[in-house]
Symmetry: C3
Subunit: 430 residues, 3 copies
């Protein structure tokens, strides 16, 4: 049996995060490595085929090799959807296959359940689904007992045929047959794969597996917070002997501190937290429920809460609440990433006003951006790649990539007569 | 003998504080409860008649009951002055009475002195007064030896008949006679009571008692700071076993910490301070000479000095100096309530430029208001009820109730070329 | 032999620093006292002649007396250059003399080397020079073996006759002869002394001494940081028994703390640092590699790094990075002296864009100025004497003496409907 791992896609909705989702690091490891580990640990297979883009070939291959996984890389030229991705690997698709997404956070038992069902029932196809409470923009399954009778991709709220959202853990007994269906299917929308699956349902035995474990979708960048929270929940306290933690710092709960990290006097780290390699946690800084990837520097007196901080970002007396920072990001003293609307409403994003459902959400920032001293970024604002938000700016709206914004102040300038209060008088008032 | 407690009045000068003065809590107890306790502890009486408004009836009655004080409530329909208040209770006013204000902070010996003098001299009326150094807008007594010969209400600066301001600790041997005088008196100003008293002086033996103890008037909201300072001065160190104080916090001097309060690591509380029920003092926060009523939350790294913080207010990395916050108030990270003019002048309030005589005074804020991140409120500004002061606002003037103020910034927007400095270079510069 | 110390000059380039360079205190002592000590400790002489201005006479004389140095004061009426300064003292200039600058930071062995060479070689004149790597606006020596053949004052970059800059440690066997040359020399530029020296080179034996020790020029005010860093490098840990350092403060490295200083709980001082007399280091404040002269007060939670803080300045929750503060200066809570450009460029000063060569430089501030709460001062800005920079100002340009700058904000004002979130809901979100 072959495992087909789909590691591609454009992720426009992930702007301003540049890194492909499956390569975003969590606790020092890219997301795809968790998927590969689950496969290696949980199921038997002959070979893994990873479909990705040329630019990621080496990195992806190295990750698989470092985990001892026998694999092949297939290249998808352009990000044109799941059917196209599979057809990019069609030469290797034959016999039994299991198709999964590289970036989905799932429990490995769903793979096992699908494969066991395939083996037990000898069905042609086994798909899995998960019950959702509110509309999710994915594929919905029409299920009758343990058989799937149809699939509808993104039906729109109110048009769902069921409350069962399809996962991407798709077993096919005959991969070659899937390829034929995919080559024949056509659609004007981005749902060729689902159209093909619907046709397969008409003619084959398509079995349904209900899954009710962990499932963390990653469609929007703020969902990196949920993904991060999941990984944090898996931590135990683990302080590397190669790190240097002041005995005047406070480490509470499940905090993992990697090699080369330094935690200075008066710092407080309240778990779960991940403090990556060579991270510096400055004096009097407080970190709570956050991930600080490799090389992050928090200077004096920061307050970082429930945030994801990507590599090599640096801070200095800042409040960073419920924020996603991709990396190489810097903030001047006194700048604040606000995370709570003063009217307490849920936070909506961009011109489209996408409702995140969250009452607490800070900034989402792309790589290489800087925020000046005493700047204030409002909840839910997205800062593009390589932006400069000047000192004192109060930023209410998204900022496109490569933008520099400085505030223009107007002044009232006059002559100052010397102060009448001597310093000694002042000092008495203290 | 009956005690008539006047718990009414409008207090327009107290804006934006909504709570009636006698109900403002200090150290967890409304002001009137201190008055009631003084009476219960210090003097003998038959019954207390509390004149208040309908809306306060239940609360006032509960307070009196909880102190085991036999009392009646009389309702004053509208706040029309002291004579009207007494006439609202006229059915119960007969025989010996002692009239006092619910909100005055005094020492109980003034009650005892008045009553002892009444008993010793068998005078018809005993009034008390206190020497003032500068003009105070109250009633002034004309005194000849130990007899009072006249009373002038608010004579205006320079027209005072003496330097003796009348307190409201007024003994009448015949309450019914007072009622008659009040019913006959009339005035175009709000001084019917004083007009009646002046008439009584003409025909009766009105004895004078000089008082030189504690007396803290509460006419303007910033005087809540003085009232608070008085109550703080009565504290001893007292940390409830039902509170949770980190052994890495520092508690110095006379600090009272109530049940359910939590004080986190690195916090410093320098007495005298009152930390009410369920208050949270966050990491690295410093509280000095302040009152934090029930349910206040100071997050990380606040600096609260010589302030009165009413119930359920919350802070997060703020400086709050010499401020009065009624309650349900919130501040975003980096917002500052400044308390010292850069020109070191005394602080004047509102359009009328009322001189507070204080060189240090911060904000006076009504209930339910919010101040955004990095906002700056100038010394002596009053923020109305339910206001929203946006992030980055520099507020120089009073804000009316229910107002939302956002700053409109102008920007210079340009394209940013990528930074030339690599992160490693930056890191070396640290 | 007489030592002629030149303690004059205008120092226009030092604006906004008012204090004459030789009187700027470092570690509690004015710069001139270090020069006097070097002389007293290192060489034999008969008398010191200090040429200074009338206004400095008493202070300079007291400093010399307190060091037990036999001296005379000569007054230079106006700051008209080095030749004029020497001629102001001409009555006392005869026989062997050594001319030095009051403010130069040098090692005393250069004096010894010059005098030893004078004694060994019996030369008429001995001058010393130092090799520079890049252009320095001083006098350049034309040297052939150990003889000086000419001197060119400020030749301009690219026109240097050598890479040897002349120090002011000038020995003359016959002071009277120098006076004659000076009286005869004339120049349209400010280089009469160098013109006279060049003439002397034509007719006398002028010997050269190469110096390769410490030499810290002080032409621009930001060089006070380099001068300060030098003095800090000479410190050892030394905490006065007359100071009061909390056992909950952290003192690391070579920190000198003077009498009367107080260091509060949670403060961190990372050496080398100088904490002057009566300085207050507030709770949770961090001081690194800085000089705090007498009477400085840092309130709660400051972060002062690589800075020179002159007497009686006060701070309160500020970031002060790589800054020079002359004294009597005050900052409101949340104000920041930024020290790093967001584009990482080297910092240039004023309209002339003088390149400091530094990537980190904060503010240079004159005496008596104030910076309001949440103001942001950009890297390399000079604030004049007695200025007031209002709250919330983002200051990008130099500010002239006696200037008051307030920001004019525009607002969007609307009615606020009450918040829908109760405090309890808010609290749950915390």
């Amino acid at each position: 049996m072959k495992i087909i791992i789909l590691a591609g896609g454009e992720g426009k909705r992930m702007w301003p995060i540049q890194t492909d989702k499956y390569l975003i690091p969590f606790l020092g490891q890219p997301l795809i490595s968790y998927t590969l580990k689950r496969i290696a640990d949980g199921i038997n297979f002959d070979e893994v085929i990873i479909v990705t883009k040329e630019a990621s070939r080496d990195q992806v291959s190295q990750i698989a090799s470092s985990l001892g996984i026998k694999h092949k890389i297939a290249i998808q030229e352009e990000p044109k959807g799941m059917a196209d991705a599979l057809l990019s690997a069609k030469e290797d698709i034959n016999g039994e296959i299991l198709v999964i997404n590289a970036e989905d956070v799932l429990e490995e038992r769903v793979y096992q359940d699908v494969l066991t069902t395939a083996s037990d029932t000898q069905s042609d196809v086994v798909l899995s689904g998960l019950q959702v409470k509110s509309y999710f923009p994915g594929g919905y399954l029409e299920v009758k007992r343990d058989r799937i009778q149809g699939i509808v991709e993104k039906p729109g709220k109110g048009n769902e045929p069921s409350d069962l959202v399809k996962l991407v853990v798709d077993y096919f007994r005959d991969g070659g047959k899937l390829v034929s269906y995919l080559e024949e299917a056509s659609s004007e929308k981005d749902d060729v794969y689902e159209v093909a699956l619907a046709k397969i349902c008409d003619s084959c035995d398509v079995r349904f597996i209900r899954y009710n474990g962990v499932w963390i979708p990653l469609k929007y960048p703020w969902q990196i917070l949920e993904t991060g929270a999941y990984f944090l929940s898996t931590l135990e306290q683990n302080i590397s002997p190669g790190s240097k933690v002041s005995d005047k710092a406070i480490i509470e709960g499940n905090v993992k501190i990697e090699e080369g990290a330094k935690v200075f006097e008066g710092a407080v780290i309240k778990g779960p937290c991940y403090i990556g390699k060579n991270v510096i946690v400055g004096n009097n800084t407080m970190i709570r429920e956050s991930i600080l990837e490799e090389g992050v520097v928090t200077g004096f007196n920061c307050d970082i809460t429930r945030s994801y901080i990507g590599r090599n970002s640096w801070f200095h007396t800042n409040y960073v609440g419920d924020s996603v920072i991709e990396g190489d990001f810097g903030m001047g003293s006194g700048a604040v990433l606000a995370n709570l609307r003063l009217d307490d409403a849920t936070i909506r994003i961009g011109d489209e006003k996408i409702d995140t459902g969250r009452t607490k959400l800070g900034t989402v920032a792309g790589k290489g951006s800087r925020v000046g001293v005493n700047a204030s970024i409002m909840p839910g604002v997205r800062i593009g790649v390589n932006c400069l938000i000047g000192p004192g700016v109060v930023l209410h709206e998204d900022v496109k990539d490569n933008t520099r914004i400085l505030v223009k102040q107007q002044y009232q300038v006059s002559k100052r007569t010397p102060s009448l209060t001597s310093y000694d008088q002042f000092r008495k008032k203290l």
